[in-house]
Symmetry: C2
Subunit: 298 residues, 2 copies
């Protein structure tokens, strides 16, 4: 790759920037960032790459364009890119849901620009370039969306790119992607936000100071519920059909638990509680989490 | 304290054992443990204290008796203790819900035996004496149940005991305790079990291999859903009225989120997502969790 433009240099954009620089994956790296506060941080942190003043400057000079902005920004960026009358370019993004953005890409992007969507499974509850990490994507899954119109040679370019980053690449259709992540990521985040919201409501109503007793479980959820609100609003809105179905399944199961509890149905509840334990061992075996009690924290 | 009997030497019992020994809080420590496998582990680990063959031997020779068993064992143990015709003793437990066990204590325990309930806010998803830690309760809250019949001098003895263990002691009525922990601990555990159950159901139905993509959120919940099933069945059953109400509040809020998502109500969802973030900062400020992204794991 001769040159790469990163649009949006927050937690994930700056992690990618650090990694591309370290692995020497491009001769030039350009950064386009709207937030003045983030630009100050990038300069203060002495991050590699060149901050460009206009999107046009970065886009014109880059072979690969990577969007690391909230998904609600895509349409605006596409319209700008179209207007630049660029030669053939490869574009990707790192958004967490895919069906809605693929519709926008299909509808608005000029035909000589190619966009293949990526989704690296990495992140954290903190935001901003100061929290980025060079090894953010190493040994993490990266889903590349392969639909019926995906061009093989462009998919290969992206595949090689993410492998050089250090990720494990999987190809998937956008429908399957959005279904899987509605369960493994979007619902868990919604549930975490909802649990913390319920605790706040309860605290207000009862006038109890309960957050200080959060070490028995609530604190784990509060970490996830501290994630970036713009990013998560976009994900919830963009994958609303799958998330809606996931909520229904969740509520159905919760009512079944409630029934077991209210009727003290020993056999039924123990079957459930034992069954769910197996998932943890599987996750650890698959190296998707560390093998230490309490995440090794102390 | 001359001598202490620990009944049930799993994760928490063995942590207490290690701490009592280290801090020299008793001249003699007795352990009564039903599980042969746990007894083998205690011997192999060379834990301090004397494993007694009968409950009677341990109870007769101890000033303080601490139950670290599942709460469903309390009634059987009380009936045995009654039959030993012991002189005046102080008893406590470390169970996670209090109203139901206080009813059993009131109904069954002989009048010359005193029982003041404790609840140290500590634990982990792993079980067994091999996972116990000497500092498990250090700087953790310990709730002592103070109801209208609690004797002040006995409460003082327990207060001093837990402070020597290293815990921060709070007095609370059982009603308030069970309400608070239904929200900060019992509901989060139920939600975690339920989320993992829903993921399993979805995986089975769709025939997708989704657990390997759990790093986006699900893995955090799977840790909590790996907790001991007997302990949690007992908690859910013993605190069923409060948990039932907590489920209703949770489902009400979840339906409100669902409505926001389906109608893409930007203002309403952002208000919720921003509001819940504040709880995380509060939890960290109160030193109820570590101040590192992703719990510092990697």
């Amino acid at each position: 790759m001769k040159s790469i433009l990163i649009i949006g240099c927050g937690l994930l954009g700056s992690s990618l920037l650090r990694r591309i620089h370290k692995k020497k994956l491009a001769k030039k790296i350009f950064i386009y960032e709207k937030s003045k506060s983030n630009i100050s941080k990038i300069i203060k942190l002495k991050l590699p790459g060149t901050v460009v003043k206009t999107l046009k400057e970065g886009a014109t000079n880059s072979d690969l364009i990577i969007l690391c902005t909230p998904m609600s920004e895509y349409k605006k960026i596409i319209i700008k890119l179209n207007n630049f009358n660029l030669p053939k370019k490869l574009i990707t993004d790192i958004g967490s849901s895919k069906i809605e953005s693929s519709k926008i890409i299909k509808k608005f992007l000029r035909k000589n620009l190619s966009w293949i969507q990526s989704h690296p499974i990495a992140g954290s509850e903190v935001s901003g370039p100061e929290h980025g990490k060079e090894d953010m994507f190493v040994n993490r899954w990266c889903i590349l969306i392969k639909d019926k119109n995906t061009k093989k040679n462009e998919l290969n370019i992206l595949n090689r790119f993410w492998k050089k980053i250090g990720s494990k690449v999987v190809f998937m259709e956008s429908e399957k992607h959005d279904k899987i992540f509605s369960i493994t990521s979007h619902l868990p985040h919604l549930i975490a936000y909802n649990l913390v919201k319920s605790a706040q409501d309860f605290e207000k109503k009862q006038n109890y100071d309960l957050i200080k007793f959060s070490a028995g479980g609530l604190r784990d959820f509060s970490r996830i519920a501290a994630s970036n609100e713009i990013m998560w609003r976009d994900i919830f809105f963009n994958n609303k059909n799958n998330i809606s179905k996931a909520i229904d399944l969740f509520v159905k199961n919760l009512n079944s638990f409630k029934k077991d509890i209210n009727s003290k149905n020993n056999k039924s509840i123990l079957r459930k509680l034992v069954q769910t334990k197996k998932v943890r061992s599987k996750i650890i075996k698959l190296k998707q989490d560390i093998d230490k009690p309490d995440f090794g924290r102390n």
